[in-house]
Subunit: 479 residues, 2 copies
């Protein structure tokens, strides 16, 4: 009885020819230069800076880089590019990891670094409105006086627009959620240049389709995010943080599962394997024991933080972990978390001179120990150096093979390892990326994860909202 | 420079003629009867039961009601209806409030009440997978032995599928979020009968477009939700609940703002105005003082619940509220929340024999006191009886004019009041519905809330995913 009457996947009626013709590029560049003056840059150096992020994909520079200052200017740029069928790629701070902002078909890179206004802070409502180019550290600097914070912390000092576009999360997500949970509303420029406000400042709504969540995580392929309304949180009255060694990955994961299951509102719970700890010790000049560790943080009142940390200590001990050492001073805590945040660089310290190929997967937490342990065995069997760090409260972990990109055999070995990692995560009911996003490098895994029908729906959405395929083409989906 | 090159709003190429011809209905009904036997019902009584919910919209019965037992059967039904251009309307428990399941163009109602399987409970991962017809109380009954709960509680014992489709929330949302936050993944049948799984059981993902959130809140207009993967929570070790009288709406709202701002993790914080309390006293035989009240609940450990309740008592006292009376026994707590949940019926006790016209709005919490107070003055000036209850931690409140539907003048007066209520909420930065959804009655407010460009995007999505407009036509959007 299965008779598809009106198949969803209609061919794109009006897709632009990619890459665009030199004539189209020329027309767009001239018009932008006339409007934007020296905020339109076509020098090779600047184009190359925008054609490559922290990834092993070769540099793919755009044809021009433009620096708008308002949503209306972004709309003007997109409208112009739409007329000429020229790609537009939004650029935040260039810290994405899977080739999100490289420009495989050239086009115009929209650099958001001059959109830095904190438009409003509504302390009573625990929300704020910012332009897309504000970074998370800049925002927290701005908020501190008011006792407020924006907790989402992917490590890098990424822009809020980029974090929304990649559905970023990081160390605090186990308690505060990801960008999907912390964006109340967006302003975005659609493929025809129209400006859309997706929602209001109300904490919840049932008023129509959730355009906010459709754009969060769409990596600039459905619209260009220009302003974001974010949830904020009060800076906790008390914070306690500490490190706890474990005899094995399994012991650390089991302690994490019980911590989460028992409802302890842990703010951060991070696993670093012994290889990563060795890198951290080198890079951050720490003297941590080189074994599997959990870095943990609790937020609350003095009394509740004390209660939480005692409970966690008991749980850790049950699994052979400990001693659980607390950093009670703010500066010791900062040092600890700085070391965790620097894990990307610490990993590189393990094999100076080669490239780091960071990637991530996420599995149901019950599968985490198995997934990490199998992955470690795989790393060893592959002869790779690849430290592991993970936001284990969410079942999300990263590995970072250190690869000599001039050696094709080693590159192939690393690629094959990542493919096995993704297949392992999918077989365990997980996802090919917990927080890095798809970019170019994870495109090939989406059908295995979501199935053919879901990919048809995703392509249908992309074709409906960007019929010319000019918004960050070549990312997330093959059309 | 604003030259829309590729406008998003293309006309629907293949929209079905609505209502469908008797021949089409006949063909579909015969084919369904052949496949489903006595699970296909066309009696007027059953059709009318499915053509009306708790709303003042007149009964709009479907042409037939079918009771599938699996996702594949739903797919078969939708495929058949797609061939014949016949509308399909998903039906949960019929407790929606804005005319979501009425069938203005006839068609086939898919009643999910025989899809009651709890497919899996993953206690370690704090998630479960259920068929769409499982109700929240049935699920909690199933989970209790394992010390787990599903906290989202809209009052009615709604189906999980219906709650996902309307992006429901309710009393616990201030702590646990809404359906948008608690659905990890969905299985849905799309307009062509294809079956889509939107995501995995991983706690977070950045793997492509967020089809889960696109379907949550789409009210059966983009796909029919058949299975849901839900986040679960451990039943808290300790729960404390109590009631606290306040001298005014403003005092109660101000105490709520400070409670939220200071990071007290309140699980429920509900405002009932003095009119609603009068109804509750009548309906639930309670002897509460007839003034503005907050009903409050805290979840946590014994120590943290004690700390939270003491803090709340201090905050309430600062605003002239109190005394704060605690129900420490589970049975007293149940009685209290049963009374709150019965508010819909309690309100009706204030004017027996007429209809209740429940509606809701949601505003930034800083605007809540003004919005509720202006609304109360408006109620008085309008000569209506309309008690107010609200999930004030989220800025969301309900009012429930009691209206004699046989009196056109009174109906017009109530309609005009609701229109002013919505405009007031929008002017304060809020939304026309916090949790009830759009259905038929809120369609006219969406453009004022979202703007014309956002409505173009919503219509584009609808046309792309349901080119024939057969999925719950006449809801959310005018095409």
């Amino acid at each position: 009885m299965n008779l598809p009457a009106a198949a969803l996947h209609e061919p794109p009626a009006s897709a632009a020819k990619l890459p665009p013709s030199p004539t189209s590029i020329d027309a767009v560049t001239r018009a932008l230069a006339a409007s934007f003056g020296n905020r339109l840059v076509t020098s090779l150096a600047v184009r190359q800076q925008h054609g490559h992020t922290l990834t092993w994909i070769p540099n793919q520079p755009p044809d021009a880089v433009v620096f708008p200052q308002s949503t209306q200017e972004v709309s003007d740029i997109v409208s112009l590019c739409a007329v000429h069928g020229v790609p537009v790629i939004a650029f935040g701070t260039g810290t994405s990891l899977e080739g999100h902002v490289n420009a495989p078909f050239g086009g115009v890179c929209i650099d958001m670094s001059q959109m830095k206004a904190v438009i409003a802070v509504h302390a009573e409502d625990l929300d704020c409105v910012v332009q897309a180019g504000v970074t998370r550290k800049e925002l927290n600097e701005h908020l501190r006086d008011q006792g407020l914070m924006f907790p989402i912390d992917p490590g890098a000092d990424a822009s809020i627009g980029g974090m929304a576009a990649t559905r970023a999360s990081g160390t605090n997500a186990v308690r505060y959620g990801t960008m999907k949970d912390n964006v109340l509303a967006l302003t975005a420029v659609m493929a025809d240049g129209s400006i859309v406000k997706t929602s209001t400042r109300a904490r919840k709504t049932s008023a129509g389709y959730d355009l906010t969540r459709l754009l969060v995580g769409s990596e600039g392929t459905l619209g260009i995010i220009t302003e974001i309304t974010l949830k904020l949180h009060g800076i906790p009255e008390a914070i306690s943080a500490g490190v706890c060694p474990f005899p094995s990955v399994k012991a650390a994961c089991d302690a994490t599962i019980i911590t989460i299951q028992s409802g302890l509102p842990v703010a951060r719970i991070e696993l670093l394997d012994e290889v990563m700890i060795r890198g951290v010790n080198i890079h951050s000049k720490l003297g941590l024991p080189e074994t599997v560790m959990l870095f943990v943080e609790f937020h609350g009142t003095e009394a509740s933080v004390k209660e939480q940390s005692e409970r966690f200590g008991e749980i850790a001990a049950e699994f052979g972990g400990g001693p659980f050492e607390w950093a009670t001073k703010a500066e010791d805590r900062s040092k600890l978390w700085q070391a965790r945040h620097d894990a990307y660089w610490a990993a590189r310290a393990l094999r100076p001179g080669v490239e780091s190929v960071a990637t991530d997967v996420c599995v149901p937490i019950s599968q985490l120990a198995d997934c990490v342990e199998e992955t470690k065995r795989d790393i060893e069997a592959s002869g790779l150096i690849a430290p592991i760090a993970g936001h284990v409260g969410d079942g999300n972990f990263h590995t970072q093979p250190l690869v000599d990109l001039t050696d094709p055999e080693e590159v192939a070995r690393a690629e094959a390892f990542i493919e096995r990692l993704v297949k392992r995560a999918l077989a365990m009911g997980g996802t090919c990326t917990g927080e890095h996003g798809v970019g170019q490098k994870k495109i090939k895994y989406l059908e295995a994860e979501h199935g053919a029908s879901a990919l048809v729906v995703m392509r249908t959405l992309k074709r409906a909202l960007d019929p010319q395929n000019i918004l960050n083409p070549g990312k997330i989906l093959v059309l």
